[in-house]
């Protein structure tokens, strides 16, 4: 008889929804039905029991074809290449559990290499701003129960975080927000008229790349220099800025959610930095918080795990063995790839082939390239070795950190059918590296 599993975590976006119902077949090998989940989440669960999944590692042959090999052979190949490399890079971790991320930290510390996660191409600038200026944040539960003014700045949850608006920000009725959407003011600041802007009370169609100027203008109003504002800032009229600033200053509890619109336009960390400064200013007159719209369900995880392991959340240089160093611009994956600064690349739980600039991929491709990922993707198809693993939240459980840094226990819903999980695979690579290091010494 099919079995229904309640309160399952969804391995897609930073919302990390944990109210999913999954119906699995009698033998525990097939996902039959998925409820309480968005269209993209549904596909991930369905893909977990797809007949097309790769189930053994594949090594590229001299003629360019891929040949199936065993896990033992794959582990030996990776360990030998890591041992030989002067400066290997392991990058990814958007889609794996914290146990796997901790094992990866062990591998790269043993190998003496670079360790980086997807924040390097998404919310890395947010980390830098948080280092510089603090992080006056809250949990999504507080937003649901308290917030009456919501700002989405440079983010489009209608498409990127499909259940964010309905679970946490705009529509839910919380403890102090019993009227739901009716009593909330939604402000969307985006150069495009997005589907999120469509449900907003105010849409400020800012001139692309000029967010910093608009933040500066809002700060002037809050601090009492509203009269000194120019007639127009970043394409927004002075009257509109004064009107929206008034709403912000009168909020009972406000939250700013920011996304790639700020971290991927010129100035990057400075856009977030001034957003944090504005949040601090608003806290003198109201209660305001700010939160990064983290992309993947556990992309907050490596930041947390590696911060307590090494002291830094991403862009880690572990080559010196006795201390960690971090300086994005120098130790960030794309910069190192563009400068041809690494001589081996391990892509894990992400797709650098699709996300990195083409010149960076070309440089990385000159060296041994390993992809550790459950799926066929662009990175797996250009790599020298592809090692399939379990999908976290489908055929392996584990701890994940939601976008507000709340840890959630994800569950396994189907049998892994012989696939290794990231933690086991990486620990076996680290064990073999320990042996090689001992022999070398």
């Amino acid at each position: 008889m099919p079995k229904v599993i309640e309160n399952v975590g969804c391995p897609y976006c930073g919302c990390s929804c944990d109210d999913v119902r999954v119906t699995v077949s009698d033998d525990g090998k097939k996902v039959l039905e998925v409820e309480n989940v968005c269209a993209i989440g549904t596909e991930i669960f369905k893909h977990g029991s797809s007949d097309h999944r790769i189930r053994s590692p594949r090594l590229r042959q001299p003629d360019g074809s891929m040949k199936d090999i065993t896990y033992d052979e794959a582990i030996e190949w990776v360990a030998q290449h890591l041992y030989k490399a002067k400066k290997p890079l392991m990058y990814g971790f958007g889609s794996t559990n914290c146990e796997g991320q901790a094992a990866a930290a062990r591998v790269m510390e043993t190998a003496g290499g670079m360790l980086d996660n997807c924040a390097t191409i998404c919310h890395g600038p947010s980390f830098l701003a948080i280092f510089d200026n603090g992080y006056p944040t809250c949990t999504l539960g507080e937003v649901k129960n308290r917030a009456d003014v919501i700002v989405y700045w440079g983010s489009n949850p209608a498409h990127a975080h499909p259940r964010h608006m309905s679970r946490y920000s705009i529509f839910p009725r919380g403890f102090f927000t019993g009227k739901g959407q009716k009593k909330r003011t939604i402000i969307v600041i985006d150069p495009r008229y997005t589907d999120t802007a469509n449900v907003a009370d105010y849409h400020l169609q800012i001139k692309q790349g000029h967010d910093y100027e608009l933040f500066d203008a809002f700060r002037m109003v809050v601090i009492g220099h509203g009269k000194d504002l120019p007639d127009e800032v970043a394409g927004i009229k002075k009257e509109k800025i004064l009107e929206v600033a008034e709403i912000m200053a009168n909020a009972r509890f406000g939250t700013t959610f920011f996304g790639m619109g700020l971290t991927h336009s010129d100035g990057r960390n400075h856009n977030i930095d001034i957003a944090i400064s504005l949040t601090r200013d608003l806290n003198k007159v109201a209660k305001w918080t700010i939160m990064a719209m983290r992309g993947h369900y556990n992309i907050a995880g490596p930041g947390v795990v590696w911060s307590w392991t090494f002291g830094f959340p991403y862009c880690l240089d572990l080559t010196k063995k006795d201390h960690a160093h971090m300086n994005p611009g120098e130790t960030s994956s794309v910069d190192m790839a563009m400068r041809d600064e690494v001589d081996m690349f391990i892509n894990i739980g992400t797709d650098a082939g699709a996300h990195f600039p083409i010149p960076a991929v070309k440089q990385l491709k000159k060296h041994p390239w390993v992809t550790i990922d459950p799926s066929i993707n662009m990175a797996s198809e250009i790599s020298d070795l592809h090692i399939p693993v379990c999908i976290c939240g489908v055929d392996v459980g584990g701890i994940v950190y939601r976008m507000d840094n709340v840890p959630i226990q994800f569950r396994k819903v189907i049998d892994n059918q012989g696939l290794l999980d990231d933690e086991t695979l990486l620990n076996r690579i680290a064990d073999r590296l320990d042996e090689l290091n001992a022999q070398g010494a």
Partner: protein, 266 residues
């Protein structure tokens, strides 16, 4: 002053970290001892002698030691890091962190320098005859204290983040700059003789920016208060004076509010 000339004989495969190339570490050492100083290429620990041959003689102290670097060292980082005196002349391009955390002495780079030039510098002088990249005289990540003293002169252009969180000292960029000049600054002077795209003085508490060329996108937080004559880099010019950042906190001195200044050359 005694001179040590180091000439590149072997290019590294990746990038070499030349944190040992400072007058402080060379001073009082024989050429054989200097060749034994460490350098990292990824996880491999090399000796400077694996890549360079050395001639000349070092002085007894850092202040009496001059280092001349010959050969293409474009793929080598951290020349003159934390140096306190003496001189380094690099006769080619250099990579990141030239003069980072420098406290005294002089560095001349005859070519271009990459990012993080003179970050968190406390004193001394850096002259770049070519261009510099990003983060000139800015703070290290997470630090709220950038360059606090000394002089950086870049004869060419520079990128973004010039003098971020600067607290003192002077940066002169003779060419154009991109964005973020004196962001978060609490002191110091930046002179840009070319054009700037924008974001000069954002979140600035205190400090002086002189812009000789065009400022394409000025920040709303700056207000014009008048016209002044000022001597800059040896010549007197007339400037429009703007104060700000009006959105940022301000300090008071003798009851007067101290603002950051942007001087735009007329």
């Amino acid at each position: 002053m005694e001179t040590v000339t180091m000439t590149l004989v072997q290019q590294p495969e990746l990038y070499l970290e030349c944190y040992s190339v400072t007058p402080d570490l060379f001073a009082g050492k024989s050429l054989a001892e200097i060749a034994e100083l460490p350098a990292h290429e990824g996880k491999i620990l090399w000796k400077l002698g694996d890549f360079f041959k050395f001639e000349g003689k070092s002085g007894a102290t850092a202040a009496e030691t001059k280092i001349v670097v010959n050969g293409n060292v474009k793929r080598m980082k951290r020349f003159g890091q934390q140096m306190t005196g003496g001189e380094i002349v690099i006769n080619s391009d250099a990579d990141m962190y030239v003069g980072g955390w420098m406290r005294g002495g002089k560095i001349t780079v005859k070519g271009n320098a990459d990012s993080f030039l003179g970050i968190a510098m406390e004193g001394g002088e850096i002259l770049i005859e070519g261009d510099a990249q990003n983060h000139v005289g800015s703070a290290y990540r997470g630090d709220w204290r950038g360059m606090s003293g000394g002089l950086i002169r870049v004869k060419g252009k520079a990128g973004n983040d010039i003098g971020t969180a600067m607290t003192g000292g002077t940066i002169i960029i003779e060419g154009n700059a991109f964005i973020h000049v004196l962001t978060h600054a609490e002191g110091g002077t930046v002179i840009i003789k070319g054009d700037v795209e924008g974001r000069v003085g954002g979140q600035m508490v205190k400090g002086d920016a002189y812009i000789f060329g065009n400022l394409l996108y000025p920040l709303p937080g700056f207000k014009k208060i008048g016209t002044v004559e000022k001597e800059v880099d040896g010549t007197t010019y007339t400037f429009d004076q703007y104060i700000g950042d009006l959105g940022e906190r301000k300090t008071k001195k003798k009851g007067e509010i101290i603002y950051g200044n942007i001087y735009m050359k007329i």
